[in-house]
Amino acid sequence: MSLKKLRDVVYTGLAYLSLLLLIIPLAWIIFECIIRGGYYIVSRPLEFFTDIGRPPGVEGGGIGHAIQGSLYMLGLALLIGVPTGMFAGIYLAERRNSPIAKAARFVSDILVEFPTILVGIVTYIFLASKVTGILATGPAAFAASLALALIMIPIVARSVEATFLTIPSEIREGAYALGFSSGQVIFRILLPAVKAGVVTAVLIGFAKIIGESAPVIVSNGISNFWFSKWTEPAPSIPVLIYVYGLSPFKEWQTQAWAASLFLLLLVMGVGFLARRLTKKLL
């Protein structure tokens, strides 16, 4: 074997090694979630999904409160984020060269990479802070919801824009030629045509915010009780993992792994759905 060939073999080996370095930690994470948390879910499924957490040192308990809190928080975030992101995205696609569209596109490209923890700080400052906030209630669930909505808006907008741009302009021209108004063209003709794409866009945005913990911790604080009021801290699955994982209590740590397994499956499920829809689209 010549030196050149040998070098080729070595480089090829290193390239495959890098793939292993990518896959092994993921497999390790999933494995640990199953080993350390899976049995807890299997041994008491009902309790795990519906019950509240126990004080440290007490056997049993579940993450029902965190699931409930996450549902509330994500629900409000979707309620704000989906229409805003979708309408902005449609504008970006249909009024491509307007100055507003250009500015919004530039900003959303930055926002996609923006530290999410800062988003939580900002909603806290404007809404919840006792000193500077409009509503001045202290750490609150709605501040976290708004932060999550703000995180997902640019992602949804850019994906909706991309789907709308796949519609051939002949369809628009034809519809306008028939005398439809812009509103009818957009909501009756274009939007139904790219339904799957819009749903995918929402799923991508949703997948991004399900697992967010930093903005929630800074704007909502930490709670281990049932969701009570929008102006109070609410529990959520990622924050529960954070608190339980850092705690020195064995029971809590086990539940942190179990919650991680649940969250991981949720995120992977949403990603799977999004991929399926994209494939159907093509």
Binding site: T12, I121, S260
Partner: protein
């Protein structure tokens, strides 16, 4: 009729305008929140202050900036070879179907919530590394300052950097992959026609997309700087200027996440000040990488 046509775009444009205003809103919010702090402390003292201590009312951002830059920089050094090699393997070496499957795995890695990675770091990776790699480093290479430590713990800058490196690799891989796909076939064909081996050709394609790789790594670095929860779980959370990678540290994001929920008054404002520093660093990184990408749009990325 024309008014109807216009009005829907005014409606939609309102949302787009809101989107465009989010970033200025963030900046204004950060300034507003930190104003209480900067009215009492000078900005220069804040940036160059070497100590962060609540009891002494000392708010210096330098140790956090140092921690952020060292861990993120180290994470970048780890990501660089791995992401380039993985992207090359996926686009140039493996068959299409397999690299598609791997692409899905890369997407899954990117989607793993950071708090789950942090849990893995604190309960699995950290203890594993301190029993194996760190022990080896301290015993055999302990004479080098970066591997010196008085008490070996599982939670230090190196653990944080390794974990961060893993978290940001998927983004770098996908962007580099995209760049590799855009290299014109003619270039590779010409290189093969000259009788070059596979890896010589790959080296040529890599040098061709150098700006793209740089932009990808800048984006990855931005993500590393922005990461909060996972880092705070494994970095040890003790501010210091130690050069040793095996010593704990703090970063901009970890100081915020650990203290913001209970902070009030001047401390909260100081933490928001740290956020302002983070804001500027990450905007700079994104802008630089966008600038390079914009330049690319005139080049091979048409």
């Amino acid at each position: 009729m024309t008014t109807v046509r216009k009005s829907i775009f005014i409606f939609l444009g309102g949302f787009a305008l809101f989107l465009a205003l989010i970033l200025p809103l963030y900046f204004f919010g950060e300034l507003y929140g930190a104003s209480e702090f900067f009215s009492k402390f000078s900005f220069l003292d804040f940036i160059l202050g070497r100590e962060w201590s609540l009891s002494e009312q000392k708010y210096g951002a330098l140790p956090a900036i140092y921690g952020t830059l060292t861990t993120a920089g180290l994470a970048l050094l780890i990501t660089m070879p791995v992401s380039i090699a993985a992207a090359v393997a996926m686009t140039e070496l493996l068959p299409e179907w397999l690299s598609e499957k791997l692409g899905i795995i890369v997407d899954v890695i990117a989607a793993v919530p950071s708090v789950v990675v942090g849990l893995w770091g604190i309960a699995s990776l950290g203890p594993f590394l301190s029993d194996t790699l760190y022990k080896f480093l301290v015993e055999n290479l302990g004479f080098i300052p970066i591997f010196q430590t008085t008490t070996l713990t599982a939670y230090n800058k190196l653990t944080a950097a390794l974990m961060l490196g893993y978290m940001i690799t998927p983004f770098a891989v996908s962007v580099i992959k995209e760049n590799l796909r855009l290299v014109p076939m003619e270039i590779k064909e010409a290189a093969y026609a000259l009788g070059l081996t596979k890896w010589e050709v790959i080296r040529i394609t890599l040098s061709y997309i150098k700006p793209g790789i740089f932009a990808a790594l800048m984006l990855a670095l931005g993500r590393a700087v922005a990461e909060a929860v996972a880092v705070s779980m494994v970095i040890g959370n003790t501010c210091s200027f130690s050069v040793s990678l095996l010593e704990p540290a703090c970063t901009l994001t970890t100081l915020i996440i650990n203290n913001f929920a209970e902070a009030t008054g001047i401390e909260a404002a100081a933490l928001i000040g740290l956020g302002l520093v983070l804001f500027v660093i990450s905007i700079l990184m994104v802008l630089v990488s966008r600038l390079i990408y914009g330049k690319l749009l005139g080049g091979y990325m048409r």
